[in-house]
Amino acid sequence: MPALLSVEDVTRRFGGILALDGVSFALEEGQIGGLIGPNGAGKTTAFNVITRLYPADSGRVLFDGENLLRSPAHKVVSHGIARTFQNVALFAHMTVLENVLVGAHARTGFRGEAKAQAEALETLAYLDLAELAHRAAGGLPFGTLKRIELARALVSRPRLLLLDEPAGGLNHEEVDELQGVIRRIRADHSLTVLLVEHHMNLVMSVSDRVHVLNFGRKIAEGTPAEVRANPEVIEAYLGSDDVAEPETTALALEVEGDDGAP
């Protein structure tokens, strides 16, 4: 089966820092792929390169056979790629409904307003957000904001959904719920998902395949079980401040999210 997304030998520098150093990985249609690594490993940068917010210094990103690096950032969503943001990037002064409607911007013309509204409301209901539709997004609880971001992404009708630390800042109950939500949306919308997450229980339980970055390089790839047992991966996590326990099970610890670029 040909890959839906394939990142090929992508490099991205920030001054002296190699945020991505010849990174390659691929995602098959329908898969949930985990992308993990300690803080600063380059995960968010990978999202930003795929969605064209940052140009890559070299390499290719193929989506359904097309080189995304030739698209301007605002065209990426029309290819069928939607994302959420590590630190939540909602429109604070707009209502929840309006936020979600922006998700439909690219696929609705100037005449599609009524249909877009109906679909946005439907998606809000799907994620149990219906009663918040007319509230301003600013000031709602963090977990709710993350869910609204998810709704905005879904309304764009993506084939590929990029989730940047969706569990960051959520409590245990919310994380359990999120796990169900991710599975459910994959099934209901026949989505492919790329999941960046520090919450190891979550990544390991929902991912079909896990890719590991460290200091901008890909150090491992495999099934959750393989990655969990990979000595280099354990080493990477031990070497960082993220995890203190010198055991394989350290990967199961919950690790706090960091504050990176978008």
């Binding site: 309006e98 911007h105 100037f110």
Partner: protein, 332 residues
């Protein structure tokens, strides 16, 4: 400043309940009636009220730009000058009636604003403020150079505005109703535009460019379009200013005019179209009353009043209206 002034408050009012919709429709209808009756109620102030309506159009343009896209302009007088001179030159050289030149004045100013909008993208905050300020300084003196067309420093003396045909209306009333009709149409159009997809895209850009781009908003295009639209409104206002003055010269559009429009926008609150008329009345009448209070130093009174307003109403008249209405609206 733009940032501090913008606020939707904690709760966004749901605009969809039928009762609220009926009430706001009723309120708008009452306001429109009041606006139409004003020259009868305030006979002696008709001319000033027409001026205020011109300012309201220019402020509307600025609010679209500053309040809805987060860009700033200290130089909207430049676009007013472009619109004003478009009308002046056409009237002077072709003898066409002033009112007929207004659409073209808007289009010319709008196109120039649109193309100015692209380089403006690379600037933000103070830099954009300075660039637009420079534009306001430069445009009148550039226009002055085309002496054959624009009459140089002396400018052009134009026909005084007269009601068309045998319409027996006093000229200032004709001016008032012309200006107010244009203003109402532009307000309605803007309101329709901003509540739909395009307005959402603009507000999305203001609140978070990265997320807006990621969901397909062409930020460069929308910002330039907003600049163009904003400039078009300024052009229409400038055209009306020239038509009612009966002449145009570089001094018709001093830099002070740009600042005055910005003051009006800030006083109105930058986010709510409904409060714009208050901002317009403020910048038209406060200088007149300042003059009456103190012959020696009207600017001091003007400045003091402005500071007082900014302190007491940090989110402008819009904020005040919201605060006054929220106990009422909250119960509906």
């Amino acid at each position: 400043m733009a940032r501090a002034a913008r606020s939707t408050g904690g709760v966004a009012p749901p605009s969809s309940t039928p009762l609220r919709r009926a009430l706001s429709a009723g309120a708008v209808a009452c306001l429109v009636l009041l606006v139409l009756a004003l020259p009868v109620l305030l006979e002696t102030r008709t001319y000033e009220l027409a001026r205020a309506a011109e300012y309201a159009i220019a402020i509307l343009g600025l609010v679209v730009l500053v309040g809805f896209t987060g860009q700033i302009s200290l130089g909207h007088g430049a676009f007013m000058a472009i619109g004003g001179y478009t009308s002046g030159v056409l009237m002077f050289h072709t003898g066409v009636a002033g009112a007929l030149t207004i659409p073209l004045a808007g289009v010319v100013a709008g196109l120039i604003g649109f193309f100015f909008g692209f380089p403006a993208l690379r600037l933000s905050g103070v830099y954009l403020a300075l660039a637009t300020f420079a534009l306001a300084v430069a445009v009148p003196s550039i226009l002055k150079r085309f002496e054959g067309l624009t009459g140089g420093s002396g400018g052009l003396v134009l026909d005084v505005l007269a009601p068309p045909g045998r319409l027996h209306v006093r000229p200032e009333r004709w001016l008032y109703y012309l200006t107010v009709s244009i203003a109402l149409v532009l307000f309605a159009l803007t309101w329709l535009l901003l509540r739909g997809r395009a307005g959402r895209a603009l507000r999305a850009i203001r609140d978070g460019e990265v997320a807006a781009v990621s969901f397909g908003v062409n930020v460069a295009l929308y910002k330039a379009l907003a600049f163009g639209l904003s400039a078009a409104y300024a052009g229409v206002a400038g055209s009306l200013l020239v038509i009612d003055s009966g002449f145009v010269n570089p001094d018709t559009f001093p830099i002070e005019l740009s600042i005055r429009i910005l003051v009006g926008a800030v006083v109105a609150g930058l986010t709510t179209l409904g409060a714009i008329p208050l901002g317009a009345l403020f910048i038209e009448f406060l200088p007149i009353y300042s003059q009456q209070v103190s012959q020696q130093a009207p600017a001091v009174i003007y400045g003091a009043a402005l500071i007082l307003i900014m302190v007491l109403l940090p989110s402008g008249a819009a904020g005040l209206i919201r605060r006054l209405l929220s106990p009422v609206i909250g119960r509906l």
